[in-house]
Amino acid sequence: MATSNPSVFLLTVNGQIEGANFPEYDDLYCKYCFVYGHDWAPTTGLEEGITQITRKNSQSSHRLIWNFPLETTFKSTNPSGWPQLVVSVYGPDAFGNDVVRGYGATHVPFTPGQHTRTIPMFVPEPTWRLQKFTGWLLGRRPEYTDPKVVAQGEGREVTRVRSQGFVTVSFHIMTKDMKKMGYDIGPSSPANTASVTSGWSTEEQQ
């Protein structure tokens, strides 16, 4: 890879799924996976993973801590289809059935440096009340056919979701050869670490 004319650029994602904030639920675990476009390929590291189950601290906060490391390197030829981190949180319901507590996705930050993302989570809603009830009773809430659905825009309009909770992820991003390939991602100073995630949550953050 020491060539002066690289044909791919590399994106290294280190970081961790720090924790989550689900005020109503406990005993949660988190699955993550990366979703990326055709021109991307992972070179090292795990593409998907599952965290341990964590419980809330009895005394202080409502935070659930996982501190689950992420380490992946991607190579790519095209920034289109930039990797997204998809997290889905699961936990037992009142009857002990494992149900989904939230889906969420965020793009891996573009700029090198440290970033923290708070991903708002949501779950699909049952189509009607009765279903909600039976779902609750039987412990079978509506789920996405694939958690990766939340990383794509197509077909989302047919779903109804309810938001619940947040997952905090921190990233440490390194890129290689991007500038050589002509992709300028701007100043890589850590000044702009507090940056944009999806939606309103970030505005609140700043």
Binding site: S76, P124, G155
Partner: protein, 1644 residues
């Protein structure tokens, strides 16, 4: 409640009747009653004083007595309260108790007065009785009171306690215990009446504060308890009433009237009340009266207990308790009004906010009490209410609120205040402190050209001034002078030209110029003349108006205006003047002459031309006439007269021809001069006449007011009273106003104020409003809109401009003022009326201010955002870019050249200047309008370059999901890394769209068909490409189905089921949508259960003919000899799996095989899965073990064996069927070759007799399979698009309804009434059925045997290759083609086969129907039903086989409907399997017809052709094909055996070749055993195994596949030889039957 309500209602009515009678009597004799409450103060005072005295006298005794009575009372009261409690709402009750408690402690006034109260609602009839009772009571009470007097002290507290206690218990309990005593709710009314009464009494005391004050003043020291006074008074009143006759009754009446609304019914209760009340009353009374002791001067009073009842009453006198009964509508509405319901009239009435009925009733009752209460009720008798404003759901999202740890993203963040985001309304930069803009509005003054207060003189004066103004401007412009100069110049130029060119003939150009000049001169002269005329009339008018003015002044003997007109006379040199004049006239005359001469010449030439024409025509006529005459001459003499007539007749039309043109008159030059002179005298000053120069001055005197007549004085005063001011509105907001200035007598107002507006908003409008003020009222006279100045317009360099305004208000005065909009005449006779409107001129100027350092405080042009509202024309995009006003320049320039603007004209001077500037810059504005004029700036490369980029092309193709690039990974980052190779395939395919590889198809016709199919397929695919990206919820979200009641019940039932049932049933698995799958996720599960009737091995023997016998030989053979050892091999996508080997002809494997499935290109979308063409081959083999020899040489015996597998038959199931069916379960007939060398189809005789019966019904081998996929995939929904149709809308609706009903009633029965044809149009299904002729040669082949012919036809149909629509059209839809299309395409689905077969049968005079049903393994399919020889036959059109109705192995499982040319019948029977069905379609309860009596068949014409035309079979082509197939197959077999030599046994091959035509002839049915024997004998020692394969031909590939799947090639014995023979039998229309005979020979 209703019943009790009724009762109440009745009672109330009765009572009302009574009241009315009572009221009458009362009115008659008693007027005191009302007085009682409204006594005048004097009397009250008197009475109170008296009462006071009385009281003082006897206070002690009295007190005790009161208490006494009280105690008695209490008991009674409690009882009433009990009832009360039962009746009234708990809330009310609670209120009462609470209030009563408070009032008990608070005040004690009116204590005993309660006792006086009499119950209400006492009917008169009871009166006497009551009286009697009262008297009795009184007596009793008196004695009792006396006796109790002593104990009083000790009794009192007890009683109070008791009272409290009782009250408590009663109120709490009874309410609960006796809630039903609804009928007895009389107490409260009774109470309230009493209260009312007492209220009256109270009012006596309380209502007169004067008296009370006075009293207090006097008695303050003694008397700490003023309330007693009221008691006194009431007592007093009571006395009065006593005196009066029937006072009680009356009192009651009064009460009742007051209490009209309150309802009470129980008479008895009233009685009790009344019994009691008078008792106390009388008691008191008597006591008061009797005891006039000295005690009454002493006021000693102790704490008084106020009874609960008392308190209630006291409260009630203050409180009004509205009833909660429904108010009858009649009360709420005005009289004689019927309620009007707006809703019924169709008007929208919003939903009223919900108010409980009780509350509403209470409210209504309360409102009705009020004055004008009715106005609160709407027309419908309900309280008026606005629609409910409350939204159902909260509009604000809920927030979790946690005290300590608010989520970081929800934490409140404080930010600096920002400026409004509406900044774009502002001028850019205006927000900065330095960037302030200033608009200076200078309002200098106002001149009225007409004002209502103008006197007549003013009107004239104004007119004079106006004319004079006009004169001045004209003078200033001096148009006449200019034009004269121009004229002179032109004349001299013309003269010069003439002089220069003297007598020479003029060139064309010169002539042109000459005429141009003269034209110019003419127009200029005309212009000048008109100007001169205008000047002259203006002057005349001025003089005329001035004269009028003078006359008016003289007439009215005073003057209002200072105007004075002087006419300055400027003498001229008469001689020169005259000379000039003459010259002028002469010149003009000359010109005129020239012009008229020219005119004349023109006319003359015209005339000549016309004359010429006329003459020509004339000549013709004459010639005609002559001809005629010649003719006539030949005629007889008698006709002469006629002839003449005719001649004249014929002359007639001649006259109508072109008239003889008149020669033009020569211009009369004398008259010209005359005219010129006349005109000159009209428009010009006479020569030598002095030039008159009017001068208007305002130096005249205005007559002082004193000297004026009265109306004029009034007018002047009115004028003096008025003042004016101007409001300045900026963007429609008032920003400033001028001082108010009074109106001068000359109707000029000077303001002279400059307003500096610091602006932030873009200027949109500047508006000055002129207000007139009279006294304190002001009115808007007019508005003046001032344009927003250009940024270059800055203060200091702008002249004040005058803006005219006017108002159309009508004003009239009774004084001299002429008013406005009033007709006004200056003539004596009142004629020539004028109507003048208030108007005037406002002089003002608006400009941008200048800052300190001479910087204009104007916003730059480009920064006026959009300029859309600026009032200036800045809408143009070009302007927006900054090239302001350029387009205007150009237009002006064009216009200037077009209209020949005179550059010397002073009026045009500015324009010319502008043009010069503009044209020097050479700026041209584009002539087009661009929407995104800056788009080009953002294109970073041109489109061509983008097109050329290979990388970009790749990306685009991938995005478009072109098949080759759909999942292309890692598009190279750099252009140079994209190789051209990538596109090669794609481009090749694009090119190949035109050329079809004939080698692949072996037949040019088929190549064309394939191409055509490909085209159709592509168009269909493109059509549904978008639809593929359409998602439904189930694609994205997995959700549990809601268990319906039935399912819930089933589930409950299932709980009782055994956990491990003996015969487990397959359960539905969860379905998985296909989109998120990847390679290896999908597995095909094939469960091979058992097979029947597998052919058994024929023992190897060299003696032909013995074999059959040997099979039936004794049981010892049967036991020793293995008949067959079959196993099943499943191959799918080149994965081959096999089961274990079983024994016998009826083996049972019960094995599950898992085959991995991978989709093409790794694309697991529905569309791609559906178009998978792969088939599952299930091949049945016999495992043959050969012992090669026994080797004794080593120690022990070792046997070498080798295993051979012999193909027995196969079942082929397309993947698309599995995918769409999701599971296939059933027993299939195994395709066994017609001849299986080495095997016999003899039945085994070891089987049970029970099976025999079943087996006897069918022939062939069967296998039971269960095939499914893991995970279960959701088959793609066929998209029911609304296709356009030529069918009647009515019919379409009916069919939709029919299908819907069918789907509801019988969800598992397919029902089709409309189908889509190849053009994508919806067609009714019966149109496809029509008798069509089969190829004649089939009918001829078996003229005597219709059975055979039928079979042949079926075979022909089955030989047409089958191509499922699902495969060809990605499952998008099911297209039906007509029979001719089908025969042309030579490919089709089951339905095409079925339709064709059905049509053939119909033409063969069979009764035939199309069956729409489901079969295995095809799924929803179409079969044909025929009725012959009184039995129904079911035909499988794809295989050409037929089954009886009761055939167990009939693949048809469900019959949904039957179709023929006339109708569609839907199966409404209980069962769907053909075995249990009755096919009697005439029975409507079994078969529901589509067209019935109610909806008859509209006579649909068929879409099928009249007749099918068949192409002759091309034997040569078939032979060629045969050779080619053979060659290819041989190559392939050798290819499949790369490690072994493949030898071909020619001899055997030729032998086999002979068999094949025979097989074709017999359609593979009954194979003569002879073949085999023949073979056997021929080949002698060779062990031969082989079979003929039969296939319909469509492509070479399936044939190869089929050969490969038999595995003949895999024989690995070294001395094996092969034989391969191919036979292609041609049928009409290129339908080909292919036979492949394959055999392996092993020399033994």
């Amino acid at each position: 409640m209703a019943s009790s309500g009724d009762i109440r209602e009745k009672l109330r009515k009765k009572r009302q009747a009574l009241q009315e009678t009572l009221a009458k009597s009362k009115n008659e004799d008693d007027v005191q009653e009302p007085e009682g409450s409204e006594e005048d103060p004097g009397e009250t005072l008197k009475r109170t004083i008296r009462a006071q005295r009385q009281r003082k006298k006897k206070k002690l005794l009295e007190q005790t007595l009161v208490q006494e009575s009280h105690d008695n009372d209490d008991v009674e009261e409690i009882s009433t309260i009990q009832r009360d409690g039962a009746e009234e709402g708990s809330a009310e009750k609670a209120d009462h108790s609470v209030i009563s408690l408070r009032s008990q402690t608070g005040s004690q006034k009116g204590l005993s007065s309660r006792a006086q109260q009499t119950p209400s609602s006492q009917p008169q009839s009871l009166d006497d009785f009551v009286k009697r009772r009262l008297e009795e009571r009184l007596r009793a009470a008196r004695s009792k009171g006396e006796s109790l007097q002593q104990q009083e002290a000790s009794l009192e507290p007890a009683s109070r306690l008791q009272g409290l206690r009782d009250r408590d218990t009663v109120t709490r309990f009874d309410r609960e215990v006796d809630p039903d005593r609804s009928g007895r709710h009389d107490a409260s009314p009774a109470l309230s009446t009493r209260v009312k009464f007492r209220e009256a009494a109270r009012r006596v005391g309380k209502g007169l504060p004067n008296a009370e004050e006075a009293y207090n003043f006097f008695t303050f020291n003694f008397e700490p308890d003023p309330p007693d006074e009221s008691e006194r008074s009431s007592v007093k009143r009571q006395k009065q009433r006593k005196i009066a006759d029937r006072d009680e009754g009356r009192g009651d009446e009064a009460e009742e009237q007051e209490e009209a609304e309150a309802d009470e019914d129980n008479e008895e209760e009233h009685e009790n009340q009344s019994e009691e009340a008078p008792l106390v009353q009388n008691e008191e009374e008597d006591l008061f009266v009797i005891d006039q002791s000295p005690q009454d001067f002493l006021e000693v009073k102790k704490a008084v207990y106020v009874g609960y009842q008392n308190l209630i009453q006291r409260e009630n006198e203050q409180l009004f308790t509205p009833s909660f009964r429904t108010v009858p509508t009649s009360v709420k509405l005005p009289e004689n009004m019927k309620p009007r319901y707006l809703e019924d009239e169709g008007l929208y009435v919003g939903e009223r906010p919900h108010v409980s009925l009780t509350n509403e009733n209470i409210l209504e009752n309360r409102i009705l009490k009020m004055e004008e209460g009715k106005k609160w009720f709407g027309d419908d008798g309900r309280i008026m209410a606005l629609p409910d404003p409350i939204k159902e759901s909260s509009t604000r999202p809920p927030l979790f609120h946690m005290e300590e740890d608010v989520d970081p993203s929800l934490q409140t963040v404080y930010r600096k205040a920002l400026k409004s985001k509406y900044a774009n309304l502002y001028i850019a930069g205006a927000a900065d402190p330095e960037g302030d803009y200033q608009l200076d509005v200078d309002v200098s003054g106002l001149i009225f050209s007409h004002h209502p207060l103008f006197s007549r003189e003013h009107v004239l004066g104004a007119r004079l001034a106006q004319l004079y103004d006009q004169y001045l401007t004209r003078q200033h412009n001096n148009l006449t002078g200019h034009l004269t100069d121009k004229l002179n110049g032109l004349r001299s130029a013309l003269r010069n030209m003439l002089e220069i060119h003297g007598g020479q003939s003029l060139t064309q150009a010169m002539q042109q110029r000459f005429s141009e000049y003269s034209l110019e001169i003419r127009t200029t002269r005309q212009l000048r003349d008109s100007e001169q005329e205008k000047d002259r009339t203006l002057l005349k008018n001025i003089v005329k108006v001035w004269k009028e003015l003078k006359a008016l002044r003289e007439f009215q003997k005073f003057s209002n205006t200072p105007y004075k007109l002087y006419l300055r006379r400027e003498n001229v040199d008469r001689a020169s003047d005259e000379r000039e004049h003459e010259d002028e006239i002469l010149a003009e005359v000359v010109e005129f002459e020239a012009e008229s001469e020219e005119d004349y010449q023109k006319k003359l030439t015209e005339y000549n031309k016309q004359l010429e024409e006329w003459k020509l025509w004339r000549r013709k006529q004459k010639a005609k006439k002559k001809k005629k005459k010649k003719k006539k001459k030949g005629q007889t003499h008698e006709d002469t007269e006629d002839e003449e007539q005719e001649a004249s007749e014929s002359e007639g039309p001649i006259e109508e021809g072109p008239p003889k043109p008149e020669p033009p008159e020569r211009p009369d030059f004398d008259s010209i001069e005359q005219q010129v002179r006349e005109k000159a005298s009209r428009i010009r000053r006479k020569p030598g006449e002095a030039i008159l120069i009017p001068e208007l001055s305002a130096s005249g005197n205005i007559t002082a007011s004193e000297l004026c007549p009265r109306p004029e004085i009034a007018r002047r005063q009115d004028v003096a009273r008025r003042s004016l001011f101007i409001k300045i509105l900026y963007n429609d907001k008032e920003v400033s106003r001028t001082d108010s200035r009074s109106l001068n007598t000359d109707f000029r107002v000077h303001f002279g104020q400059i307003f500096n507006l610091k602006i932030v908003h873009c200027p949109q409008s500047i508006n000055l409003q002129v207000f007139e003020e009279i006294g304190s009222s002001c009115s808007l006279l007019a508005r003046v809109f001032v344009p927003v100045p250009e940024p270059s317009v800055v203060t200091g360099n702008v002249p004040v401009e005058e803006y005219e305004f006017s108002s159309n208000q009508r004003v009239m005065f009774d004084h001299e003022g002429v008013g406005s909009d009033v007709p006004l005449s200056f003539e004596a006779d009142g004629s020539n009326k004028q109507t003048l409107l208030t108007s005037g001129k406002l002089s003002c100027c608006v400009s941008w201010g200048i800052g300190e350092d001479d910087v204009p405080l104007a916003p730059p042009v480009s920064q006026q955002p959009g300029g859309i509202h600026s009032g200036l024309d800045r809408l143009d995009a070009v302007t927006y870019i900054g090239a302001s006003g350029l387009y205007d320049m150009k237009k002006i320039g064009e216009w200037a050249t077009q209209s020949r603007l005179d550059p010397n004209d002073p009026k045009n001077a500015s324009i010319m200047q502008l043009l010069k500037v503009a044209s020097s810059g050479e700026v041209t504005a584009p002539e087009y309008f661009r929407l995104e004029h800056l788009q080009e700036e953002f294109n970073f490369v041109t489109d061509e370059e983008l097109e050329r980029s290979k990388r970009f092309r790749l990306l685009r193709l991938r995005n478009r999901e072109v098949a080759e690039f759909r999942n292309y990974k890692c598009v190279p980052a750099l252009e140079r890394e994209v190789t051209d190779k990538v596109f090669q395939e794609y481009e090749k395919r694009l090119k190949e769209g035109e050329i079809i590889d004939t080698k692949e198809h072996l037949d040019s016709h088929r190549a064309l068909v394939a191409k055509y199919l490909q085209k159709i397929r592509e168009s269909v695919i493109n059509r549904f490409l978008l639809a593929k990206h359409h998602y439904v919820l189930s694609d994205l979200v997995i959700e549990e189905e809601i268990p319906s009641i039935g399912i819930l019940g089933l589930n409950l039932f299932k709980l009782a089921e055994p956990k491990r049932p003996l015969k487990p049933q397959r359960k539905e698995r969860k379905k998985v949508t296909a989109q998120n799958l990847s390679d290896g996720d999908i597995k095909l599960l094939i469960n091979i259960i058992r097979a029947f009737d597998i052919p058994i091995r024929r023992p190897q023997s060299n003696k032909p003919g013995q074999a059959p016998q040997s099979a039936i030989q004794g049981s010892d053979w049967f036991l020793n000899q293995v008949q067959v050892r079959p196993f099943v091999e499943v191959s799918f996508q080149r994965t081959v799996l096999q089961t274990t080997t079983a024994d016998g002809p009826n083996p049972c494997w019960n094995e599950e095989l898992q085959l991995p499935f991978s989709a093409p290109n790794g694309d697991y979308s529905n569309a791609s899965l559906q178009s998978v063409k792969d088939e599952v081959f299930i091949n049945m083999f016999d495992e043959v073990v050969h012992e090669t020899g026994v080797n004794d040489k080593d120690r022990g015996k070792s046997i070498h064996t080798w295993v051979e597998k012999h193909w027995l038959g196969s079942v082929k199931i397309p993947f698309s069927t599995i995918y769409s069916q999701s599971r296939i379960d059933g027993t299939f007939k195994v395709n066994t070759p017609a001849v299986l060398l080495g095997y016999s189809k003899e039945r085994s005789h070891g089987a049970n007799g029970g099976y025999d019966i079943m087996r006897s019904l069918s022939e062939g081998t069967f296998i039971t399979l269960f095939i499914t996929m893991e995970p279960q995939l959701v088959p793609g929904e066929t998209i029911r698009e609304k296709f356009d149709s030529q069918e009647d809308e009515h019919l379409l609706q009916a069919s939709e309804r029919f299908e819907r009903e069918a789907a509801q009633g019988y969800p598992d029965r397919p029902c089709i009434t409309t189908v889509i044809d190849l053009n994508g149009k919806t067609v009714f299904i019966t149109r496809f059925i029509r008798p069509l002729n089969p190829p004649q040669e089939f009918l001829d082949a078996f003229p005597n045997n219709p059975q055979e012919a039928t079979a042949l036809v079926a075979r022909f149909v089955s030989l047409i290759p089958s191509l499922p629509d699902r495969v060809s059209f990605s499952g998008a839809c099911d297209l039906w083609s007509t029979c001719d299309q089908f025969l042309t395409l030579l490919a089709g689905d089951e339905e095409e086969h079925a339709v064709l077969l059905c049509n053939y049968f119909l033409s063969m005079d069979k009764k035939a129907w199309l069956i729409i049903g489901t079969a295995i393994p095809e799924g929803p399919t179409t079969y044909v039903l025929t009725y012959e020889q009184s039995r129904y036959l079911i035909w499988n059109p794809s295989s050409g086989q037929y089954y009886g109705q009761y055939d167990t192995f009939c693949p048809l499982q469900t019959i949904g409907c039957l179709v023929n040319a006339d109708n569609v019948w839907f199966n409404v029977q209980e069962y769907t399997t053909p075995m249990r069905l009755s096919f009697d379609i005439t029975k409507a309860n079994l078969w529901k017809p589509f067209f019935s009596r109610s909806f008859s068949h509209p006579g649909l014409s068929s879409v099928q052709p009249e007749e099918l035309v068949y192409r002759r079979t091309d034997k040569a082509a078939a032979a060629e094909l045969q050779d080619r197939i053979e060659k290819i197959l041989k190559e392939k077999v050798m290819e499949w055996r790369p490690r072994h030599p493949t030898r071909w046994n020619r001899y055997c091959t030729t032998t086999l070749k002979q068999f094949l035509p025979k097989l074709e002839m017999s359609r593979g049915q009954d194979v003569t055993e002879g073949h085999r024997h023949e073979l056997q004998s021929l080949l002698g020692e060779n062990r031969i195994s082989g079979f003929p394969l039969h296939l319909p031909f469509c492509e070479i590939r399936p044939i190869i596949e089929a050969v490969y799947s038999t595995g003949v090639h895999s024989v690995q014995v070294s001395n094996v030889e092969f034989a391969l023979a191919v036979y292609v039998h041609p049928y009409p229309n290129n339908v080909l039957s292919v036979w492949v005979y394959l055999a392996s020979l092993v020399r033994t």
